[in-house]
């Protein structure tokens, strides 16, 4: 008999008991899933993006279904960090004690807002194992481009927050110009990268000639984006040495395994949580089976292990 493989990974200082994380915005603040499974079995959860002040988000409709995916334009609706901590802090502290890491996502419209949010988390959220800087939400800005759309802009945000927290900072990247932006973020001291965020897309109701969402474009996620996500994780892994959290269309252990082989240290389950709330623990189990099947004693042996 082979002994159980070790599944623990280190995402830039966030020590996860296993590689399975949840994608921000698809897992609420965690407790929504406790009725479905014991959330603490996961390596980490990433909470919905919060900003210093509350945000309303976008009008309805915020979701449209497309082939093998969905599009969303939630627009980072959130109650603000203060209210978030009041409502969910106790649950999240407990979750952390149960051994699951808690990554809190930081949202902002401007460098100043990011800095304030990072500081607020530092002040109010002792349960946070790390912060995820969302510089890539396609649904918030006026012009359509996210704060971190260029290497220069991404670097600026990272530089501004780097001095303000001792927590590990993961940066959530947009699905474009991955190598350039990844390098810029590493240079500014990012502890880890997470990618991909949703891909800007458009769905038109051809009868009414209007967007099927309240905004012209919205973010595509789900199985349709998976092969693109695998490519982007691979691109990032080739140019940086900080760890990567792979995200995009993961619905099975094999999908997670692909991201790990492409270079991901951890893998977040996103849209799949919404469709089947027990997806994350199922995927974790399938991933363990695969690690065993590969004859590895430690999942870390498989990170970036694709042969090209």
């Amino acid at each position: 008999m082979v002994s159980e493989p070790s599944m623990a990974v280190d995402l830039g200082g966030i020590k996860m008991r296993n590689p399975i994380n949840t994608a921000s915005g698809t897992f609420g603040y965690g407790w929504q899933f406790e009725g479905f499974f014991d959330v603490s079995c996961l390596g980490a959860i990433t909470t919905k993006g919060c900003s210093a002040e509350p945000w309303d988000g976008n009008p309805a409709p915020r979701m449209a279904e497309v082939t093998s995916g969905i599009m969303n334009s939630v627009g980072l609706q959130n109650p603000g960090i203060r209210a978030f901590v009041e409502q969910d802090g106790e649950y999240l502290s407990g979750l952390r004690e149960r051994g699951c890491q808690v990554i809190c996502q930081v949202a902002g419209h401007s460098i100043d807002e990011y800095v304030r949010a990072v500081e607020l988390y530092g002040e109010l959220a002792p349960f946070a194992s790390g912060l995820e800087l969302n510089i890539s939400c396609p649904n918030v800005s006026q012009g359509g481009a996210a704060m971190g759309a260029t290497p220069k802009a991404a670097a600026e945000v990272m530089r501004a927050v780097r001095g303000r927290t001792n927590l590990p900072v993961v940066v959530k990247m947009a699905p474009h110009d991955v190598p350039e932006i990844a390098r810029a973020l590493e240079a500014e001291g990012a502890d880890a990268l997470s990618l991909i965020n949703t891909i800007p897309a458009m769905a038109i109701n051809v009868h009414t000639r209007r967007s099927r969402l309240s905004r012209p474009t919205a973010g595509l996620s789900g199985p349709a984006v998976h092969p693109i996500a695998v490519r982007m994780v691979w691109e990032a892994h080739r140019v940086v040495s900080i760890p990567i959290c792979g995200i995009g269309g993961v619905t099975s252990g094999e999908d997670a395994a692909e991201l790990i082989l492409a270079g991901a240290t951890s893998v977040s389950v996103g849209t799949a949580n919404l469709v089947d709330p027990t997806s994350a623990p199922r995927i974790l189990g399938e991933l363990e089976d695969w690690v065993r099947e590969q004859g590895a004693t430690d999942v870390n042996e498989l990170i970036g292990a694709v042969e090209c």
């Binding site: 979701m63 082939t67 969303n72 939630v74 469709v275 089947d276 709330p277």
Partner: protein
């Protein structure tokens, strides 16, 4: 459609909904939120009435006896029937009929008198007239957009007439948003309380994704799937 859902049937309350995965096409990944008209706790079944409007409901309509799937529920907060003193006016448009008749069942159980307005585009799409009567509605008034049954016109026409004839303490409504907006306006103007059951595009159905937002009169949004689908008409920004 009758669905066997052990465990779920006894705990569903009127106005709540279930989120149903319809098998057969993995390229469509989302579930379909559906209200129910009634449950049979003994047989552990749920009765669902739905309209085929797109690919998912079309697939649902092709499911046959014995076909299995998964369902999430109970979802949402149902009608606040304990706040209803009666007499109540229940107004349904289209596939709003099932949750409205589920409310009727609850009022019947509580001994609260009620009338029902059932609207549809056309006679063939009407559902629930007989059921409404059998649930003890004082009056059942029908409207159709094309006049093929009952009053020709929208449900609001019937509501205005009936308000002239009886004093309703409460109005409960479910249907297309413009219809509910009209009914709510009439109800509030008449001094009735008004509960509305809203419909939104939903992804999860259990409060995890913020895609089912309902704009509030006080600003901001609430989640249709967990704060609703039933809201106080005064809360909602119409």
């Amino acid at each position: 459609m009758v669905m066997h859902a052990p465990g779920l049937a006894p705990i569903l309350s009127p106005g709540q909904f279930v989120n149903v995965a319809v098998p057969g096409d993995p390229s469509h990944i989302t579930r379909i939120p559906l209200s129910f008209a009634g449950t049979d706790p003994k047989a552990q079944t749920i009765e669902i009435v739905y309209a085929v409007v797109g690919e998912g409901t079309a697939r649902l309509s092709r499911m046959g006896e014995g076909d299995a799937s998964t369902v999430l529920g109970p979802c949402g907060k149902g009608w606040r029937l304990d706040d209803v003193s009666g007499p109540a006016l229940l107004v349904a448009g289209g596939v709003g009929a099932p949750p409205v008749l589920a409310a009727a069942r609850g009022l019947l159980a509580r001994g609260i008198p009620f009338d029902v307005v059932l609207g549809a585009q056309t006679a063939g799409k009407l559902w629930g007239v007989g059921l409404a009567k059998s649930l003890g509605a004082g009056r059942v008034v029908v409207t159709t957009d094309d006049g093929t049954a009952g009053i020709k016109g929208f449900t609001t026409v019937a509501v205005e007439q009936m308000q002239g004839e009886r004093d309703y303490a409460d109005v409960l409504t479910c249907g297309p948003q413009p219809m509910m907006a009209g009914v709510a306006r009439l109800a509030l103007a008449d001094g009735s309380s008004c509960q509305v059951s809203m419909e939104r595009m939903m992804t999860c159905g259990f409060g995890a994704c913020n895609t089912c937002n309902v704009a509030m009169a006080a600003g901001g949004y609430k989640a249709c799937c967990t704060d609703g689908p039933v809201f106080d008409a005064r809360e909602v920004a119409w």
